[in-house]
Amino acid sequence: MKIKEKNPKLNQNNNNPIDQQMEQDDIQVTSPWKDSLRQLRKNRFAIAGLIIILFFVLLAIFAPLLTSYAYDKTDIVNRLQPPSGEHWFGTDDVGRDIFTRIAYGARISLQVGIFAVSGALLFGTILGIVAGYYGRWIDMVISRVFDILLAFPSILLAIAIVAILGSSLENALIAIAIVNIPIFGRLIRSKVISLREEEFVMAAKAQGMKNGRIILHHILPNSVAPIIVQATLSFGTAILEAAALGFLGLGAQPPTPEWGAMLAGSRDFIQLAPWTLIFPGVSIMLVVLGFNLIGDGLRDALDPKMKN
């Protein structure tokens, strides 16, 4: 056997040693997002959560096709019917079909989640970024406001806000959004503050990047992971809070088939017709569980360090 003069795979230029290892290992380009997605797909809990949510989304979308009843059509003769082929989930105290109401209620709950969370997200993000990036007195002011809002148990603050605005689904939504603003705001603020000190942000600054660009291209994309996770989890809490307000009579008003309000309306029939309570309760629980499962999965996939 003869020794070769030089290893043929070696680049002669010492300054330009192309990394053999890299080329062999992973030619395919994976972005951090794709990696996370792949991670997520492997998470069985998250998949279960997705399936649950998908189920309710479909239920909400196709509600009119799935049932021949109207959610507010009363039918006194057939009140408090137990579940049967006719009424899958039975009927309530004025004879409305509970399955129909659950299906339409899914629309409400999902809307609550979407609007309350996106509202909170929007304002929370703006406030959080402003506070975190610019610091000083503006941070002082915003942080104190957050402190104050967070000093109230959220449901209580929501109650207070609804008391001011009047009880309705819209106002409950607004209240829940407001209650959630400081949660997002704080999260983003702390994320921004820690990112502001990161070397790559320093580097961007050293490159001569403008503040706006640094926020949009460096700070925001790197805060997105915890925000997404929090948003998913907040979906669940928002739905729970809306249901609680509905239950207290401060949220959606009858005959709106909001699940919490349905529970409140059926409270007296717990002995007589438990199904009027079981189905809406289980629905709330499942939707919230779904979002929590996805949120947990996302947390593991997106932000393993944030696990808690």
Partner: protein
């Protein structure tokens, strides 16, 4: 609080040990087979506001004060017929301006002081005169029921009581400015029960937590939102009463929980039974179901001074379109009667001859066409956000009314307001069609008819803005008439006119149901929701 223990006398020591020791039950009851445990737990949905009856309009309060304090008069066990209480007799002058009451003798308050005419006078003056030393105006006390029932307060133009004269210790005279047809009726109300002047002196504004009266039970303690404990007043003026040693009024807000507690024997009486549970109670041999006589009505009203409901035919048409029976069934599980007059049937002067607007969509459509709305119309139906005794689920009623109207081609858009703005705005006449109701207090028809439909009350309690001079005249006459039969006729006539005009569609009179365990004997529910428990006993 020295008063409590002094009069406690020979039997029960307060609180814990009394009920469980067998020895001391001997003299408290004479019913041989009564169990030794004469403690009654009465559970209800909400706590009392105040135990000073005059300063509140709250039913949960009078329920309790009824046991502790007594008035000059009271009502019959089952109706609003006036009966003697602290006044064993009375006399009315022919002009209806002077009432003389002869008081029971030898009656003492729970604090040991004597009950006498002076005490009565002090109480009435306290209610009438905001500057009275016991009026506690600065502490937020308002005797609104007095104002409503006696035409205002001292110095007001409408105030009917001119003066109160103590004839002697046991005789008192009320002189009126003008006759008041339901003066005696008013005195039967539990709101006008007599508190010990000594206690007013002692407790001041805290009298609302320390009621001292002459009733069968005396007050022991009150844990807010939890329980009020009363115990037997040994020196009660009626021999052999009360039969119970203790009464505990417990608060269990949730209807279902309350029923569970009743079934498990944690409580003895529950008020506010869900009508749907009535059937279950009836079939349970350990429980007894009671119904209260109807004393209210819920209605759908029109703003008769606002288009389109200035049109009588339209109002009539709508009246035919509404299925009252469905509402009674849906919301009251049948424990309600459909209404045709703005007055409960048990009331004096109730006109049973009024022809009801029976459910008849066809006729409704005809009338609608006559009124010029053959193509239908679109209206706003205001509904209130809170449950009331006369309408436990206003939204559902609204939904039913809405679908009834839709059947005859009227599109009703349900409009919701918060409770406070709702009351304000309907008072200002911003509404078209609205829902509300009325509950009786003194059992007099005037309280219903005048408040709701007298032209003078437009802009306040007459939210239908109904003005019919003939009706007003009849009501005015009836108000001052002293002869009850004459009054009855006048009210009856008024109802004919009202029914023709349809300023409001009476929907139902509810008959609230309640339940006790079968051990509870001699319990008779009263339509006013407050009944004396003096004769109740527990027999296991």
């Amino acid at each position: 609080n020295g008063g409590d223990s002094e009069s406690g006398g020979d039997t029960d020591k307060p609180a814990d040990n009394g009920s469980s020791e067998p020895g001391d039950s001997g003299d408290s009851t004479d019913t041989g087979d009564a169990s030794e445990d004469q403690v009654l737990i009465f559970a209800r949905g909400g706590d009392s506001e105040s135990l000073d009856p005059g300063s509140t309009t709250d039913g949960e309060s009078s329920r309790v004060t009824k046991q502790v304090l007594e008035g000059l008069l009271t009502f019959d066990k089952e109706s609003f017929e006036v009966q003697p209480e602290l006044a064993h007799d009375w006399k009315v002058s022919d002009d209806g301006l002077t009432y003389t009451f002869y008081l029971e003798e030898g009656v003492t308050f729970h604090d040991g002081t004597d009950f006498n005419a002076e005490a009565v006078k002090v109480n009435f003056e306290r209610w009438a005169d905001p500057s009275h030393e016991y009026a506690y105006t600065d502490d937020g006390y308002v005797y609104s029921m007095y104002g409503t029932m006696f035409g205002g307060f001292k110095g007001d133009e409408g105030h009917v009581i001119k003066e109160i004269n103590v004839v002697n210790d046991h005789e008192i005279e009320f002189v009126l400015h003008r006759p008041l047809g339901f003066f005696l009726q008013n005195l039967g109300m539990s709101y006008f029960a007599i508190t010990s002047p000594a206690a007013l002196e002692e407790y001041g504004a805290r009298i609302n937590e320390n009621p001292v009266g002459t009733g069968p039970f005396k007050f022991v303690s009150w844990s807010k939102d939890d329980s009020i404990i009363l115990e037997k007043f040994e020196d009660y003026r009626v021999e052999g009463l009360p039969k119970l040693d203790r009464v505990i009024f417990s608060v269990i807000p949730d209807n279902a929980a309350r029923l569970i507690a009743l079934k498990s024997g944690e409580i003895d009486i529950m008020d506010g039974l869900n009508p749907d549970d009535a059937a279950g109670v009836e079939s349970d041999e350990n429980l007894i179901l009671y119904e209260r006589a109807e004393n209210n009505f819920g209605y759908v009203g029109f703003n008769t001074q606002k288009e389109p409901f200035t049109n009588k035919e339209l109002r009539q048409a709508i009246s035919y379109a509404i299925d009252r029976q469905a509402i009674a069934d849906a919301l009251y599980a049948g424990y309600a009667v459909s209404a045709k007059n703005p007055l409960p049937p048990s009331y004096m002067g109730y006109n049973d001859n009024v022809e009801p607007y029976a459910y008849d969509p066809e006729k409704a459509k005809e009338l609608l066409a006559e009124a010029g709305y053959e193509d239908g119309l679109e209206i706003e139906l205001w509904t209130m956000p809170v449950a009331r005794p006369y309408m436990p689920d206003p939204e559902t009623v609204a939904v039913i009314v809405q679908s009834n109207l839709a059947d005859i081609g009227i599109t009703a858009n349900i409009h919701r307001e918060e409770w406070a703005p709702y009351l304000e705005k309907t008072m200002n006449g911003e509404h078209q069609m609205y829902m509300l109701g009325w509950s009786g207090t003194n059992g007099d028809p005037d309280y219903f008819l005048s408040s709701l439909l007298h032209g003078d009350n437009v802009g306040t309690s007459n939210r239908s803005f109904y003005v019919n001079n003939d009706v007003d005249e009849l009501l005015d006459k009836a108000k001052v008439a002293v002869d009850q039969e004459e009054r009855a006729q006048l009210y009856s006539d008024a109802q004919e006119l009202i029914s023709e005009d349809v300023p409001m569609i009476p929907l139902v009179h509810s008959r609230p149901v309640l339940a006790t365990t079968s051990a509870v004997k001699n319990y008779v529910p009263h339509p006013s929701t407050s009944e004396s428990l003096a004769e109740v006993e527990i027999v296991k």
